[in-house]
Symmetry: C2
Subunit: 222 residues, 2 copies
C-alpha cells in the first residue's frame, strides 16, 4: 500500500441558522403543515421519486412542492404538470437552502391549504447537510450507480437524514453495488436511519416509502 | 401544463479568489507543472477515471494527485496504491477548494518533480464551479445514470469546463440517456467544450482522453 499525507485545509463557516429553523418548525406545527426536505446528488432521481410520491399520495394529502435550483425551471414544470402546487426557488448560485430561504419559499407557496410541503433541495451532498431548513424530517436519495461507499465520503448528509431511499435498484445487476455494505455504512453514520430500497422508474418499494411518509405527516398534524 | 411561480431567493457571496488563482498559475508555469482540476457529482466515477488515467500516463509523465474530501481517506489510498504521489486534502466541511487551499495542497504535495498534478475536487456540481482553483484546465465528469439534462441544471459547471467526460457509457442500454441531447446542452453552455464519452470501467474512450490531457501538459511545459 502506498504512502500519503493528510493535510487539513480549512476555512471558517458561519452560524445562527438553527434558531431560524426552529421558528420555521413552530410556524409549520401551528399551521399543521409537514415539511420534508429531500436531498441528493445531482441525477439520483429526486424529481422522478417525487413524481411517484405525488401520484401515490395526492388523493390523500394536499401537497405543495418547492423546487430549489440554481437555474432552470424544468423540475417545477414536471411537478406542476401532476396537478399539485409547485414553486421554483432560484437560489442565485447558492448551493443549498437555509431556514430563512425555506421560509421565503413556504410563504411563496402559500401553505394554508397544504398538508405536506416538500422541498426538493439543490442537488448536492455537501452544503444542504449543513443547514437546517426547518423541515420536520430530512430525506435523502442515494442511487445505485453512485456506489455503496458514499456514506463514508459524505458523512454529515447521512447522519442528519431520517430516511435514506436507495434508488435505481432496477439497475443493480449492472453495477458493483453492495447493498449490505451500504446499509452498514449508513447505520455507522446514523443508527436510527430508515432505509428503503426503491426504483422510482418501476415503482418497486415506493409504497413502503409513501406509507412511511404519510404516517409522519399524520403524526405531525395530531 | 400546470402553473407555477418563480421566486428568487438570494444571499450574498464573496470574491477576490481570482487574483490568487492567477498567482497559482504563475507558480505552476514557472515550475512547469500542469494542474488539472477534476470535478463531478458524487459517484460519477472520478476516482476510477483517475485510476485509468494514471495507468495510461504514469510511464510518460510524473504524476501527483490531490484528493479533496470532506472526510475519509479512501481515494488517496486507492491512488497511492498505483504508485504515484498522492495527498488527501480534508476541507473541514467545505464544499469546494479555492485557489489558496489548492496552493496549500500543491505545497503539501511537493510538486518539484511533477509534470501533471491532478486535483480531485469535492464531489459537487455547484460550489467548485464558483472558485477558480488556479488550475490550467478544468475537467468534469458527467455519468450516464445522472441524466442528459444536467447541463441545463448546473450551467456554471458546464460553462467553465474545458473538457467533459461522459462516463459509464457501458450502461447506456439501461438508462434513458440521450447522448445527442446531452452534447447539445453542453455546447449551449460552452461551445468550445471538448466532449469525450468514456467507460472508466471497460476502458472505452479513455485513450482519447489521455491523449488530449498529455497534449495539454506538453503544451503548458513548452
Amino acid at each position: 500500500m502506498g504512502e500519503f499525507r493528510v493535510l487539513e485545509v480549512k476555512q471558517s463557516v458561519f452560524a445562527d441558522n438553527d434558531k431560524r429553523a426552529d421558528e420555521v418548525r413552530s410556524v409549520l406545527k401551528e399551521k399543521k403543515v409537514f415539511l420534508l426536505n429531500l436531498m441528493s446528488s445531482p441525477g439520483s432521481g429526486k424529481t422522478t421519486t417525487l413524481t411517484r410520491t405525488i401520484e401515490k399520495l395526492k388523493d390523500e394529502l394536499r401537497i405543495g412542492v418547492m423546487e430549489a435550483d440554481i437555474d432552470s425551471d424544468v423540475d417545477a414544470k414536471t411537478i406542476s404538470d401532476l396537478g399539485v402546487k409547485a414553486i421554483q426557488l432560484h437560489t442565485g448560485g447558492m448551493c443549498h437552502l437555509d431556514a430563512d430561504m425555506t421560509m421565503q419559499g413556504l410563504e411563496g407557496l402559500e401553505t394554508g391549504d397544504v398538508d405536506l410541503a416538500i422541498l426538493e433541495n439543490v442537488g448536492n451532498l455537501v452544503c444542504p447537510a449543513e443547514f437546517d431548513t426547518g423541515a420536520v424530517k430530512n430525506a435523502m436519495i442515494l442511487s445505485v450507480p453512485e456506489g455503496h461507499d458514499k456514506p463514508l465520503k459524505y458523512p454529515l448528509m447521512f447522519s442528519i437524514c431520517d430516511v435514506v431511499l436507495i434508488n435505481k435498484i432496477d439497475v443493480l445487476p449492472y453495477f458493483d453495488f453492495d447493498m449490505e455494505a451500504c446499509k452498514k455504512y449508513i447505520f455507522m453514520r446514523n443508527p436510527n436511519a430508515k432505509i428503503i430500497p426503491i426504483s422510482a422508474r418501476t415503482g418497486e418499494g415506493v409504497e413502503e416509502w409513501t406509507n412511511w411518509l404519510k404516517e409522519q405527516v399524520l403524526e405531525w398534524q395530531k
